[in-house]
């Protein structure tokens, strides 16, 4: 009843810290610290990943460019190829109108698979146990 009692019944103030900030700590192992602190080792690791991803992308781009990009030239140089019929459809119509789309999707599917594998390898490299 007395006004003096009231402060003692109130719960004590507690300090709340954002979960993310509370768990943030220095990287546990060497490689992760290298990454975070931009040491030459960390830089080299990132460069390796970039090179792997770029090489993969360029390789698949070359596949697409040779497969699709050579077609106009082929049809211009050898008009006979354009006149071929398969299942009653002229080859250029079949190649461009139908088959090019599953081909593009297939290349994209392969890229996603391999790019993710590159990243898994990179994570494994960073997280490997110290010798």
């Amino acid at each position: 009843m007395a006004a003096d009692d009231e402060p003692s019944t109130k719960p004590l103030r507690t300090r709340v810290v954002l979960g993310e900030a509370a768990t943030r700590r220095r990287p546990a192992d060497r490689a992760q610290a290298d990454l975070a602190e931009q040491t030459p080792v960390g830089e080299a690791l990132v460069k390796g990943l970039m090179r792997a991803q770029l090489a993969l992308a360029l390789r698949l781009a070359v596949v697409v460019v040779t497969a699709l990009g050579s077609l106009p030239l082929l049809f211009a140089v050898a008009p006979g190829v354009g006149g071929l019929k398969i299942f009653g459809i002229y080859l250029p119509w079949l190649l461009l109108g139908v088959l090019s789309f599953p081909f593009l999707i297939g290349v994209g599917w392969a890229y996603v698979r391999w790019a993710e594998r590159n990243e898994q390898d990179f994570i494994a490299l960073i997280r490997r146990p110290e010798p």
Partner: protein
């Protein structure tokens, strides 16, 4: 007029506004409006990206081009789809990891140059308008073709619906609206095609290019729209010509189209340069379209951005199988379009022309028209969202702390210019202008993104020089093509299909400019590259 048409169009507009209002219930903060709070699942996101991407040029223009020119223009749909593969290979995951919402944001993150940011904003607005004006014009032309109403009302109607939807619902609503519109567009082309194919079977599989030349399938009356020579005989504008069923289709001198082997087999009039230029523009232009990039921010991380892009490639590829069939069947059932030159209307007119005037034909006709409306609505909404985003952050300088009211103001500002332009410039060619927008995007943002993501030595000076050289040259080529006199010979090819020289030019200037100013490489490039390429799970 088709009795199912008006109800069909009203349903599309109501559902679009309805989903927009439904989305409004969730959109509470500016961040919700701009980026859908980054909580859109990959399946929704992929359908939304596809719905946004498949514009009037894809829905109507590709079939019209194939009807007119045949096998040579199949590179348009192939290139429109392959653009997503280039985006997937070189841009998708790193761009998402950069955290950039718009292209100017990316310039800020990577090179930290205010000048480059401003320049990028100019290009975003230019490409956005270049792409938005023909969408609204296409809407107006479709309105005229289908209902006989006025062009101005069609363009205004779509303009107002889109502006209201973007201003009220922002991007969260747009995500749902556009996912719905992808499936609507696919259905609107896929269902009629089944009936069209059955009809073609029951008609005894007529040949697409008969040796004796095309003939009218039924008695047809054609109104000639310009003074021309019809099979060498002069005909005045507005004159009606009647043909019996089985009569040969004459050639009209004012309509540029391919016939016989020219249409059926590759080569023909299109030079090799123009074909390769088109391939380059469409393959590399997609990644530089402002409304496409904004979408990637709504993926939770880089890996899901990649998966989303792959799903988009599948959805877009499935869609592009269909316009070809419309173009080919249009050759048999709507040959009069080759006389009037209104080939873009083939998708709208084919169901009723092939299946007769019954209820089924009218229903299918209303369905494709609803799909066309969805195509205008979704692409213009996406473009408007991204142009408004740039106006919001870079012109009004509102930044991330800006209010929802500022975003609405930005939307109205961004919409007013293209809507007014579309009312006063009505003779621009729809599919050609869209192709030019790809060329500008391929020669400005493609080199900036690819070099920015994969090459550490890019500098702000090099990037600005490259943007000005490649983007400026392609912009000039676009303006000459659209506004200037017609050009012939190699100069005409180089100006009307500029990508083959402007894309290499942009890359070259950007690389040489960066090497010459190598001291200006940002000191934090290592940290930026780590952020762009390392998987999110390693973030420290």
């Amino acid at each position: 007029m088709n009795p199912y048409l008006v109800p069909g169009l009203i349903v599309v507009v109501l559902v679009t506004v309805g989903i927009g209002v439904y989305g409004l219930r969730f959109a509470r903060t500016t961040s919700d409006f701009l980026v859908a709070s980054r909580s859109v699942s990959p399946a929704w996101n992929a359908a939304a990206i596809s719905g946004e991407y498949l514009s009037a040029a894809s829905f109507l223009g590709v079939a019209g081009l194939i009807l007119r020119y045949g096998v040579d223009v199949l590179w348009y749909p192939v290139g429109f789809a392959a653009g997503y593969l280039a985006l997937l290979l070189f841009v998708a995951a790193p761009l998402r990891r950069s955290g950039a919402f718009t292209l100017p944001d990316f310039c800020q993150v990577r090179l930290g140059s205010p000048l480059l940011r401003t320049l990028a904003s100019v290009f975003v607005v230019f490409i956005g308008c270049l792409y938005l004006v023909p969408q609204l014009q296409g809407a107006g032309l479709t309105f005229t073709t289908v209902t006989g109403g006025s062009y101005v009302w069609g363009a205004l109607l779509v303009g107002v619906v889109v502006t209201a939807n973007v201003a009220l619902g922002g991007m969260r609503a747009i995500t749902f609206v556009q996912a719905f519109q992808y499936w609507l567009k696919l259905t609107a082309l896929a269902v009629p095609v089944i009936f069209l194919a059955l009809q073609w079977q029951s008609d005894g599989r007529p040949v697409v290019t008969p040796d004796a030349g095309a003939t009218f399938p039924v008695a047809t009356t054609v109104v000639i729209e310009q003074d021309a020579l019809v099979d060498g005989v002069p005909v005045e504008k507005g004159q009606q010509l009647s043909y019996d069923a089985g009569a040969p289709v004459p050639e009209v001198s004012t309509v540029d189209a391919a016939f016989g082997a020219d249409w059926l087999l590759p080569g023909g009039d299109g030079t090799l340069f123009a074909t390769y230029s088109l391939i380059l523009a469409t393959f590399l232009g997609t990644m530089g379209l402002p409304h496409v990039l904004v979408r990637f921010y709504t993926n939770p991380d880089g890996a899901s951005a990649r998966r989303t892009t792959l799903v988009v490639l599948g959805l877009v590829g499935a869609f592009y199988l269909l316009p070809t069939l419309y173009g080919v069947l249009g050759r048999i059932y709507t040959p009069q379009l080759l006389m009037t030159g209104r080939t873009d209307a083939v998708v709208l007119l084919l169901p009723e022309a092939a299946l007769g005037g019954g209820h089924l034909a009218q229903l299918l006709g209303a369905l494709v028209t609803a799909g066309a409306l969805a195509a205008f609505l979704s692409t213009s909404s996406g473009l408007l969202t991204s142009v408004a985003g740039v106006v919001f952050t870079d012109v009004l300088r509102a930044g991330r702390g800006g209010s929802v009211r500022d975003f609405r103001l930005a939307t109205v500002l961004a919409a007013s210019v293209p809507v007014l332009l579309s009312l006063y410039v009505s003779n621009m060619d729809v599919s050609r202008v869209v192709g030019l927008a790809f060329a500008v995007a391929a020669s400005s943002f493609c080199p900036l993104l690819v070099l920015g993501i994969w090459w550490r030595r890019l500098t702000d000076v090099g990037a600005v020089a490259g943007l000005l050289a490649g983007g400026g040259a392609s912009m000039a080529a676009v303006l000459i093509t659209v506004l200037g006199p017609p050009l012939d010979g190699w100069l005409g090819d180089a100006v009307s299909q500029p990508a083959a020289w402007t894309v290499p030019l942009a890359f070259l200037v950007m690389i040489v400019g960066s090497l010459l100013t190598s001291r200006r490489v940002p000191h934090d490039v290592g940290a930026t590259m780590l952020r762009l390429h390392a998987p999110e799970s390693l973030r420290v």
